[in-house]
Subunit: 593 residues, 2 copies
Amino acid sequence: MMLKTHHCGQLTKANIGETVVLNGWVQRRRDLGGVLFIDLRDRSGLVQIVFNPDFSGEALAIADRARNEYVLAVKGAVVERDAETVNTNLGTGEIEVRITEIEILNAAKNPPFFIEDGIEIDETLRLKHRYLDLRRPEMQKTLMLRSKAAKVFRDYLDENGFLDIETPILTKSTPEGARDYLVPSRVHPGEFFALPQSPQLFKQLLMVSGLERYYQIARCFRDEDLRADRQPEFTQVDIETSFMSQDQLLEMMEQLLVRLFRETIGVEVATPFQRLTYAEAMDKYGSDKPDLRFGLELSTVTDIVADSDVKVFNMIAKNGGIVKALNAKGCATWSRKELDDLQPFASRYGGKGLAWITVKEGEWKGPIVKFFKEEEIAALTERLNVEEGDLLIFSADKPKVVYDVLGNLRQKVGRDLGLIDDKAYKFLWVVDFPMFEYDEDEKRYAAMHHPFTRPNDEDLHLFDTDPGQMRAQAYDIVLNGYEVGGGSMRIYQREVQEKMFKALGFSPEEAKAEFGFLLEAFEYGTPPHGGMAYGLDRLIMLLAGRTNLRETIAFPKTASASDPLTDAPGAVSDKQLEELSIRVALKQPAAKA
Amino acid sequence: MMLKTHHCGQLTKANIGETVVLNGWVQRRRDLGGVLFIDLRDRSGLVQIVFNPDFSGEALAIADRARNEYVLAVKGAVVERDAETVNTNLGTGEIEVRITEIEILNAAKNPPFFIEDGIEIDETLRLKHRYLDLRRPEMQKTLMLRSKAAKVFRDYLDENGFLDIETPILTKSTPEGARDYLVPSRVHPGEFFALPQSPQLFKQLLMVSGLERYYQIARCFRDEDLRADRQPEFTQVDIETSFMSQDQLLEMMEQLLVRLFRETIGVEVATPFQRLTYAEAMDKYGSDKPDLRFGLELSTVTDIVADSDVKVFNMIAKNGGIVKALNAKGCATWSRKELDDLQPFASRYGGKGLAWITVKEGEWKGPIVKFFKEEEIAALTERLNVEEGDLLIFSADKPKVVYDVLGNLRQKVGRDLGLIDDKAYKFLWVVDFPMFEYDEDEKRYAAMHHPFTRPNDEDLHLFDTDPGQMRAQAYDIVLNGYEVGGGSMRIYQREVQEKMFKALGFSPEEAKAEFGFLLEAFEYGTPPHGGMAYGLDRLIMLLAGRTNLRETIAFPKTASASDPLTDAPGAVSDKQLEELSIRVALKQPAAKA
């Protein structure tokens, strides 16, 4: 077998005169008057190889049998192309290879779809033939980018003293968090392992172990109903450190991301990254993961409209609600239909409606304009920086609803107005998250991050008086409107941990039952520690400019958590189930009416 | 909080005069006449810190509260020790740190065992408090070595164009191989995922995809009864390449191992590695993973003894058996008991007995000596290089039994005679494995490696006539008697694959049912490919000079596949089982008599 001396896509004029051996796939073939041209493809790209009776001898007849996706080994001389046949679209377009020897290493059936970028075919078909889908250059480039990105993470973390440590995949089910994937134990009948939702507890134990700096590119598992940006198994770059402050860690993480973007896609990201507190982010953008590639900041106008004659504003302001406005610059030209569409848009995010005002030829128009007093209009003009051609959109409701509605509307308007630069990468740290969310159903506080998150030192006294106001040493890293990572400094002092459990409504006994081994570990000399985790799949999606997580994973699952290629999950034998001491217990289908 | 400026174990005379902040754990404390000495430990090592009323002020009183494993932050000046107090056992033994400020970052209960190397306590206790066990320097060094080793693998493979690609953990149960761990699917009631025993099928699919060079440090799972060197989840460095010959791949892998040993433990391994065919290895060492740190080669003497008056040799030689001998140099001094112990030793490996001859003062002694003719003794003397003081041990049986008995005896004698250099690393490639083993129970051939292993080209014609004689393009890498990796070139031609399945007794329909998606993939232009996998846990064990796989894994499972730390596996709620459409079905305990 002739083995490659060069990669197809890397031949240039510098190779002219060399005899090379290439191995690759037939991308396409053209027979021009007895001369056969084949575009030969490997993962590096394409090159044109030529079979001509003048120099190819028997090789021409053999090559003539080759069809698309045949695997060839060829030998020949690199020559310059005639000026008129130079292909400037192709890196190798200035040369071609005149073949003197060929082996057909393998034949191929005609593939069910073309091996080329930008195909628009059913994704299930692509997944069923993933081995062909992955031949397409855009898929190969994404997987190469992913490999490179993982390497950059590892190099940087290794250089900074982080140890790559593996934690178990077969571990224990925990009552907190999302739904676990379970694995029946054969040796311990009736007991189950769980696949980890994250290595959180193990990485904290590694800090208790004094290993000081840990990382792992870790597979995690959540048995949740899937959305476009969720997978049952996903990968996170998991990091934990002892003896560092939050500021030190965030600066180190910024340099990591700078290097990641430089070495994978050649983009220089500016530091330091902008930081917003959670409260600021919600106030200005209605979101804790705002897209900062454009402005369109929201304004609070509760104070201005509270006493206006717009009854709904008036009423909401008096009942603890807020009124906020988005000035959609230049959108006064929206059609009636576009304005009407604001109502269903608001409903989608739980809002009851949106009020709007257009500013055309100096005049304010819209259903609520007549209720405003002159000084209110003046105040709004100043607060919202109102100019000719603007469209003002108001939302009044409980804060959470107002944020959701206007935050999403801001994103839509930004996109519609073409304010988003696809080439821009705007990082943002969101810090000072609340420690607790109030669970209306259960009438108790729940941890917004997790029960081991450390409060801001200056808020510690609020445990007993006003937990809802406590801020956490928790942080998210946001890129272009996507949360790509997050973490927190952890509680390491027993008395703080006890207060935390108390605030969450746990009795000491319950805390012990749920987190016993970690609490016990914490008693043997736990260092101050904290960390974070990046969602690798999502980061790669953004780096590669893709919009679907499945494009970043070699063998992903469908939205119904199955794999059309291997047909997983599947039936297993009774013997297997018996060995595991379990039985399938299908629910009875509901009787038909 | 005072954050470290230096690592404890890295302070030297070069730091004298500097003010440093250290963070670490109290290894031990001594109070000498009101002056407090503490050995402070972090992952880099120990340093002595000193609290003295002369310079420590309040810090002394605070430090006095600290006990073993308390976590401290201290600040002080690095000073030279008095000549008489220099500790040459300690890297930092020429200096000490005079503390002026201290914070007790955390208290600690008295740990259940000492945090020091070489403790001899119950392993379950160590695993239950793994976070303390991992504080011990030898455990930390092993995990650092493991992290470094993974990095070397990655760097080398990355430099050689291998892409780091993740393959699924939730995949499909396959009927071949060991027992699968199963994961019930919630979305597809009654169906199951399986955890992968290796990424074998996926890495071959990646070759079909044209990604050309793949690697992954992959978690693999086997639900088998455990031995000391098995874990239910284990890690392999998984590698696959297209368009390379076996020789090219093995040479590349040798350079990888050279680099691994150089960069982790500073050992220069000589290349090229010795290669033995499977047949040679069995013949000379009775093992396909011989320890080549010592000689003691076996000799076949069937031809010499076949016509002797030793009836059992005679009979076995005539019935297709073999007679082999080990010359245990200098062991003529063995006691009668030692010689008697040879019989139970042989039994352990399936042998019926061993014959022995001692050579003392020029005389051959032993039960069988009298049956040998003079020319037979002469021939044995030459073949076995018999000298004064030797002990000759003979085994006669079916080849497999003789190999097992004498191969293991050779290892025991080599160890007993002190022939094994613990500092030596002897690599060996074993090549040309048989394609098939004959399964006596099922009266059919079974694949020795797996059904996708390519035969040696010159043996292809034996498919139809004598499959038992076919050799495979399969190879194992052996280090000091341990198989640390293995692999094969794969079948990529349809007609060869069909012959393989036929030889294994599959009908075309059965082959399709078992390996359908891979066979289908093979029809779309499969390149020649092959690869290998290293057992990372075992390699680390050998690099670290440990004898137990569990010492190389941060959070291992016990021999009963459980984790005393998290208490996994454990019970789960009825709701969880109901969501998964399964029920526990415990076997009835057998009624007592």
